[in-house]
């Protein structure tokens, strides 16, 4: 065996590190989108590899819908602190108060409402680049997106007019008000992410592992029953997202395969207790990762339409 040869994970790693360093060198005010999910966990390790022993030269940004899994929030805050990074959180609720966004009548999911919150945060902090953990294997509109994905002054992606991306030469030039989204994990698959988490011994939020949870069945998905509403005089944030009398509900041994918020994340029945179990489960899976995402099921072009409007 040749010692001057990288295996597939080492290749993906060096590619992602190169991309992260290009961001640090080419942009004035970049940020890392960090949700606490498995992909952004890999991004943070890659950032450590790209920038240590210096500090990671960019803050972390997270957009909250207000319907997050509490386990995820706890993990996100702790991880950011461990890394000595500045964590900026902007929420849909704040955006309502500031008039940046208005609630969609009759719609309990706030997935779409993350768009104005994200664009508002970009404006507030004058971020010229946001690094995300999206991968091309997740979804077919993403399969067409560049590592350096240009957004115009309105935050829009124009899939028919993308900059050619040749070799490892990324064109990072922007005019004022424009923005770049950069995806260092573009070439990673779900399996690669879990193999990397194993190799690097990275901690992930415990909801990725099998646990017992009250779930209910809606639109072909097992959704988590939201936490009980405290009688605090405010409206129930989960109104419409609680099981109805007709909907089947039961306690399940389950876990999440991908995480949005509690309203958009389908639970999968799974006995996977550790990373090796997850890797085996992903290898044998017969549905895609995002098959459990209610937000993608809106239409065949749900992701493309959201990206055009400025989504992650």
């Amino acid at each position: 065996m040749s010692s001057y040869h990288l295996d597939h994970l080492a290749y993906l790693e060096t590619e992602a590190i190169h991309v992260l360093r290009e961001v640090a060198a080419e942009f004035e005010r970049p940020a890392v989108l960090f949700s606490g999910g498995k992909d952004s966990i890999c991004i943070l390790r890659l950032a450590e590899k790209a920038f240590r022993p210096s500090e990671i030269p960019m803050p972390f940004l997270n957009v909250e819908t207000g319907h997050e899994f509490p386990e995820l929030i706890e993990f996100r805050d702790r991880r950011a602190e461990e890394l000595g990074a500045k964590l900026i959180v902007r929420t849909v609720d704040e955006a309502f108060e500031k008039g940046l966004a208005t609630p969609t009548p009759g719609q309990v999911s706030r997935n779409q409402l993350q768009i104005p919150v994200l664009l508002g945060a970009i404006e507030e902090f004058q971020f010229d680049c946001c690094i995300g953990g999206a991968r091309r294997d997740e979804e077919k509109a993403r399969a067409k997106e560049r590592f350096f994905s240009f957004r115009d002054a309105f935050g829009q992606w124009d899939p028919k007019n993308q900059r050619p991306e040749i070799w490892n030469l990324y064109n990072a030039r922007l005019n004022p008000g424009e923005n770049m989204r950069v995806f260092p994990l573009s070439n990673w698959t779900e399996t690669d992410v879990w193999e990397y988490i194993k190799k690097e011994e990275l901690e992930v939020p415990n909801i990725y592992f099998s646990h017992e949870r009250e779930c209910f069945h809606r639109a072909g998905q097992w959704l988590p029953v939201p936490p009980a509403h405290e009688a605090n005089g405010k409206a129930d944030p989960y109104e419409g997202a609680r099981p109805t009398e007709q909907e089947e509900h039961r306690r399940m041994i389950c876990r999440v395969r991908t995480i949005a918020d509690m309203i958009s994340t389908g639970m999968i029945e799974s006995p996977a207790e550790n990373i090796d179990d997850i890797i085996s489960e992903v290898a044998a899976a017969r549905v895609t990762e995002r098959g459990t995402r209610a937000d993608d099921k809106a239409s065949e072009a749900a992701m493309e339409d959201r990206k055009k409007a400025g989504y992650f």
Binding site: K49, K140, K160, P164, S186, T189, T191, G291
Partner: protein
Amino acid sequence: MSDAQQTIELLRFNTCGSVDDGKSTLIGRLLYDSKSIMEDQMEALERSADITGGGQVNLANLTDGLRAEREQGITIDVAYRYVATPKRKFIVADTPGHVEYTRNMVTGASTANLSIVLVDARNGVIEQTRRHSYISALLGIPHIVFAVNKMDLVDWSEERFREIREGIEAFLPKLNLFKDVKFIPISALEGDNVVTFSDRTPWYEGPTLLGHIESVHIASDWNLNGLRFPVQWVNRPNNPTDPALHDFRGLSGQIAGGIVKVGQEVLVLPSGQKSRIQEIWTYDGPLEEAFCPQSVTLRLEDDLDISRGDTIVGLDPLPGHSAELAGRVCWMNPRPLTAGKKYFLKHGTQTVQAMVTSLESRIDFETFEPKEASELAMNDIGEVRIRTAKPLTYDGYTANRLTGSFVLVEPGTNATVAAGMLHPPAQTYKPEYTDFSI
């Protein structure tokens, strides 16, 4: 088990052919037969088949991800797909065939180790076949496969297959750059010779398409000859709490060629100063040596003034170092290239102002000969001369795909307008002249 996983190699390939040659169908077939298609994707395909396809599942819809593509039944942009078999992992760039999107083929081909050129058995060798072969050669892809598709529509004729093969072999010597060339008769629609052998081609004795791409030798595709380290980011901790880091000054980057070793003598360009490698720093601990394309942080024995865009090179062989460059460009913008225009040129980690001083010729895809030209239109490939505001440290593209390539960016619009491949330097950097500043 985990050791076996560690040594899995990654092969990047692209597919190219004309509209309706069946590229997307072929990738769909590879995904389907290697069981990389999931049930929910299949359901989505079946749903759209019932609505728009008269009940016929269209494998092309697996890769044609954009609304306009599904509406028009064409592939607009490069789509990347991921296939894993027990032997290898693959990154597939599905690049469209219609002439107006040739720039996307250049994009997909720039990072590929292998090119699959689809030829419709009924149409045989057409201009697109020659164009795609030429671009694959131009972009330095070491391995090429001609997949003669739709063999079912020519009654699995060995004679037709040979005719096409001879037609291609007639022009291949003019390109003369591939490490290996394969011809495989397939039906992407029905799956013959894609993943499993077909009993309808008893006269064909070669491998299946998947069998070939799983076994072709790619270990020597990266350049390990002559250290090239474009400095990407200067790594200097601010107010470190660890006193050992007070004087830490690292040069972070990805090795673009060759091997670097602790103690090795190196030259920093453009300053021409010499030093030695003190440490190869990584997050996972120091290394004794590192190689292309690893990302590392180098520390030198001497505290030199080095910044992004500088290149640390080994002494043998030395690179070219010049502000007067010659090379080929693929033009990617609707506004044509004419001599005298100024652009930003990005090469490695350096962006400099550049002027195309002359347009020497445009390549004719019928003959592969250069023809006199006053402009390059979108998707044309031509020979140019370029002058840069600062000298570049470079190699010929055929020697090193990373240090021999550049892109041109149009000021104002910031559009990436050209992909460029440099000719080998007329002379290499002369360290003995370093006392005379340029």
